[in-house]
Point group: C2
Chain length 248, copies 2
DNA sequence: CGGCTGATTGATCCCGGTCAAATGAGGTGG
DNA sequence: CCACCTCATTTGACCGGGATCAATCAGCCG
């Protein structure tokens, strides 16, 4: 499917999300929409969009698919430091720094909009509310980053994986990607292991433990959480860091 | 010592640091200086300046002392998610979110400037370069946050502690707090344990291991790193995430 | 059917947690 | 000045969560 056949509905997640962060005027939504449409891009699964050390010259807004930010150590150990879901954006403002400190890759095929810096700055200058929305995007992403530090530093494996699943649910819900108690889980166990700081083997066993406790159902690339509150208890989940997702 | 007797030299770290992030005009430095002087505050060691869930209505710029951002789990487990050193600031822009997702506490007695939101916004509006400098401050802090995720998720204890010490050195150096190969280390081993996701006992043993390898000397609240490059090798340290500290 | 990637299982090891106690180092009051 | 208290550091013993290595199984694709 060529890009030209994509209709404007692909922009929905991004517009909905930014509008949740800051209620946008009709004009703001319109100018956002046209900026997004100008830079539409596709990528396959497992592609690096930008690498550690690269200069940043554009803002990317994800429209579909799962991406991640990651860093690797010399000897190959990889840590996924955050996921990026539809509606979220990469590196608003990051071009203020000379180069990027981490890499961004697709975990699934993805559609995103690549807005070049001058275009983005024009967009921000044209509507202060929109600028605030992108600023909030950055702040929320940093709050998530802090919670990941807690997850990696102080939760044991079961809590850690449970917490990740709770967070994924809460982040996917406002962009309409959670259906009842299920969402897709399009990534490999290796990816989940790298996000939780566990080995693949132990991640697999942790999943089985969560299954045995009936806290999750995970098969056919679909994650079902029959009782989200129960999972949150198991995860020692405290929702305050994601508050902005619950506004809409 | 009452605040009135503090002379302007206490502002040096903050001005120097922001000037490193973005070269500031003389006027920008002057207006920054007066804003900082207006809100001078002192705090003892171990005080919470703001707690998770509190609304944010001001920006704090640290002038002396060590602070930390931390989060706790219900059962008391604590994770320090970042340190805040002299010259750095807390929560520029954080007032855009309804409440704070983490707590900030002093680890030592501290002096800081508390700039109320309207005052801060006036300051930003008056000089775009200054606004960019604070924006960079936020971006660098987020980059550090990501590196901490790698540290907690993928480095073993010795590497982890070594990495923390390398980072502390690199962050303290540009504000003049590293003397040759030494800096003060005013925090307890409990604090270091909470920052590295280790238990106090194991942190203590890890310190001994680093001492035995002659990678550090730590006594009398002073940390000496005889060979920083060697410590960086042991830490699998990659400097890219702190690039902005090396500009000045 | 063979090759490949991802999920799963088994066996073993060790890093780092936990519990408990000892040692030091201020700080305070008699 | 010393006795005492508190907090931080250090040590010892033991245990267990999670890593590692290796093999097997299950889809999927050409």
């Amino acid at each position: 499917m060529p890009l030209s056949t994509l209709d404007r509905s692909v922009l929905e997640p991004a517009i909905r999300r930014l509008n949740t962060l800051r209620p946008l005027s009709a004009e703001a939504r319109a100018s956002l929409q046209s900026a997004l449409l100008e830079g539409l891009q596709r990528a396959g699964a497992g592609e690096d969009l930008i690498n550690e050390g690269d200069p940043v010259d554009s803002v990317r807004v994800v429209l579909s698919g799962w991406l991640c930010r990651y860093k690797t150590l010399e000897d190959g150990r990889r840590q996924i430091v955050n996921f990026i879901f539809p509606g979220e954006s990469c590196d608003a403002h990051a071009f203020l720094l000379p180069t990027l400190d981490h890499s961004i890759a697709t975990l699934t095929p993805a559609v995103y909009s690549d807005i070049k810096r001058p275009r983005f700055e024009r967009l921000m200058a044209g509507d202060p509310t929109l600028a605030e929305a992108f600023q909030c995007e950055t702040l929320v992403s940093t709050a998530i980053q802090r919670e990941w530090a807690v997850n990696l530093g102080r939760r044991v494996a079961v809590e850690r994986v449970a917490h990740l699943f709770c967070e994924i649910f809460e982040r996917l819900r406002p962009v309409g990607m959670v259906d009842r108690s299920s969402c897709i889980m399009p990534v490999t166990q290796m990816d989940l292991a790298d996000a939780t700081g566990l080995s693949v083997v132990h991640l697999n066993r942790t999943l089985q433990e969560l299954r045995a406790a009936s806290l999750i159902v995970l098969r056919d690339r679909t994650l079902t959480i029959p009782d989200l509150d129960a999972l949150k208890v198991a995860a020692l989940y405290s929702p305050s860091y994601l508050q902005l997702y619950r506004r809409g």
